[in-house]
């Protein structure tokens, strides 16, 4: 075995590369991908690093093969990942659904760019926030994390693997071209100092094991291919045995749990950063790079005497509705800047509409918000 091929120390590292290193630190040993700007650096790094660790890198013929291959690899017991941007994500949606239905741990990275269609390949956007939630047909709980820096891209990639192993589902990281291509200091701790969660393998004997039987928690125990369990799994609605059963009753048993295993664990999944939120009149709700580019506007508004705070959504899905509802009863309103024409603002509105007004500040991508527009919005919410 090749030794010492795990990094630790202090690096000046690009976001995409930090993501790849985070995956490796988390134990990811299979990467299936297809080149796309601005996510290609993740694949490039994995193609360089995985062979050092006896891992598998495959550049597939398209994004559909990439996502499906990582599901297969995960069922063979290997932690797996793919990375793409908006157009590739659109292609992956069907098999994201398969991963959700089969309850397959894996991680998908979306380095977002300007959209729709081919859009702005080399420029910035946060265009897939809703696609990540609703992209595949049907209902399923999902987890999306939004890093704001290369360091956090590293850290959250590990968190994503931990969540995917713990709750058995494909977990998403939604970042953007700025963070992906930004270079900053990244501190990589020694591997034994990282908290790494592994999936729960069944301790039952073959014959006793039911692949979708849920006992204490809402997540079934896993058995990997080749271990003698000879189980079945399918994208069809299935019972505890994994056998397809085409009945309303089985649909009730099968699907709501996919949603509830996430919503009922939301408190353990949701990560937030708050700055001056407690006594704020106006709360700016932002995520990813926008949570950084909005800071000068917040400072300008503070200078004008407005009490304004920043609520940064590190976890976007499941949406932190409990916290937004709490704040909605105290504040005058919310301002939601995003590099899209208003996606997450819909969630903020949904959770706060009873109490306050929410102001959306949109931007189609390709640049960032003008600071004065955000200041104006903050003022409007504060004084109206």
């Amino acid at each position: 075995m090749l030794k010492k091929s795990k990094l630790h120390g202090e690096f000046f590292m690009q976001g995409d590369i930090a993501c790849a290193e985070g995956a490796i630190a988390a134990g990811c040993r299979f990467f299936g991908g297809y080149p796309i700007t601005p996510a290609s650096e993740i694949a490039e790094r994995m193609s360089y690093r995985l062979p050092m660790l006896d891992g598998v890198f495959v550049q597939f013929e398209d994004e559909i093969a990439s996502i499906t291959s990582i599901l297969g690899a995960s069922w063979a017991g290997m932690k797996s990942m793919t990375a793409t941007s908006g157009p590739g994500w659109s292609l992956m949606n069907e098999n994201i659904g398969l991963g959700m239905m089969m309850e397959t741990p894996c991680v998908l990275i979306n380095v977002q760019r300007g959209s729709p269609s081919t859009g702005l390949p080399t420029s910035w956007g946060q265009s897939d926030m809703m696609q990540a939630k609703w992209g595949s047909h049907g209902d399923y709980g999902s987890i999306s994390l939004c890093p704001k820096s290369p360091q956090e891209f590293f850290d959250l990639t590990i968190v994503a693997f931990n969540y995917s192993e713990k709750y058995r589902l494909p977990v998403f990281i939604l970042t953007d071209a700025i963070v992906g291509h930004m270079t900053e200091k990244v501190i990589i701790p020694p591997v034994d100092e990282l908290e790494i969660i592994e999936r729960k393998y069944t301790t039952k004997k073959p014959g006793e094991y039911l692949p979708y039987k849920v006992e204490k928690d809402m997540v079934p125990d896993f058995a990997k291919a080749g271990d003698g369990y000879r189980y079945h799994t399918t994208g069809l609605t299935h019972d505890e045995r994994g056998y397809p059963v085409m009945t309303e009753e089985c649909q009730w048993k099968c699907v709501p749990r996919l949603v509830e295993k996430i919503t009922k664990n939301a408190d353990n999944i949701i990560l937030l950063e708050e700055r001056d939120v407690e006594d704020a009149d106006v709360v700016v709700v932002a995520y990813g790079i926008t949570a950084r580019t909005v800071v000068p506007a917040i400072e300008a508004a503070k200078k004008k005497g407005i009490k304004v705070g920043l609520l940064r959504l590190i976890t976007v899905w499941p949406f932190p509705e409990k916290r937004i509802k709490e704040l909605a009863q105290k504040v005058k309103g919310f301002v939601v800047p995003e590099l899209n024409l208003g996606q997450i603002v819909l969630e903020v509105e949904r959770c706060s509409a009873k109490y306050v007004t929410t102001k959306s500040i949109t931007h189609p991508g390709g640049g960032i918000h003008k600071i004065e527009n955000i200041v104006k919005a903050i003022e409007k919410v504060a004084y109206e």
Binding site: F12, I178, I289
Partner: protein, 180 residues
């Protein structure tokens, strides 16, 4: 120390992005400050307009973009034309005097010409023009320590070119002295 914002512009292939990387790494890893480097480029691998930017700060960098630069390093006329307007009124301009000839900025800007590409050619390889400029930047702007810059360059270029790059850096660093 205040936050300092540096913009570098030129053509793809001139080392515009590597230069920002070297500055950022020097500041962040070796000078133990915080640095955030971002890049913008066209779809072309070579020849397209290309720019990069570094924000150096004693505290964590929130706003990583440079729309109000303390320093502009222009390696091409197009790069100069495109970004001279974002340089602060009393900002520092460094430019390759053979490649940027058409100047239009106000006299308040501290203007620092260097024929970086010619100096590099004299050293035997014009590919190190950006490193000549890095030396010049280190001497003029005094935002990053010379030790940190040298270490950063050594860590960032292939070992067989270390010596050439060090000579290029020194040429650029001492250029200002030689002028006096």
């Amino acid at each position: 120390m205040k936050e300092q914002k540096i913009k570098i512009s030129g053509f793809g292939g001139q080392g515009v992005i590597l230069s920002a990387y070297i500055i950022g790494k020097a500041a962040s890893i070796y000078d133990k400050k915080n640095a955030s480097m971002t890049q913008a480029y066209g779809p072309e691998a070579r020849g397209g307009a290309c720019s990069s930017q570094v924000v150096i700060s004693p505290k964590e960098v929130d706003y990583p973009l440079v729309d109000n630069a303390d320093v502009l390093i222009a390696l091409s006329q197009e790069g100069y034309d495109k970004f001279i307007s974002i340089l602060k009124k009393d900002g520092i301009l460094l430019y390759d005097s053979d490649l940027v000839e058409n100047l239009k900025h106000s006299s308040k800007i501290k203007s620092n010409p260097i024929p970086a590409t010619r100096v590099a050619e004299e050293l035997g390889n014009k590919i190190v023009a950006n490193v000549v400029m890095m030396g010049f930047f280190t001497a003029v702007a005094k935002m990053v320590s010379i030790e940190a810059m040298k270490q950063s360059i050594q860590e960032s270029v292939p070992s067989k070119y270390t010596e050439l790059n060090m000579r290029a850096f020194d040429k650029g660093y001492n250029y200002i002295k030689n002028l006096k």
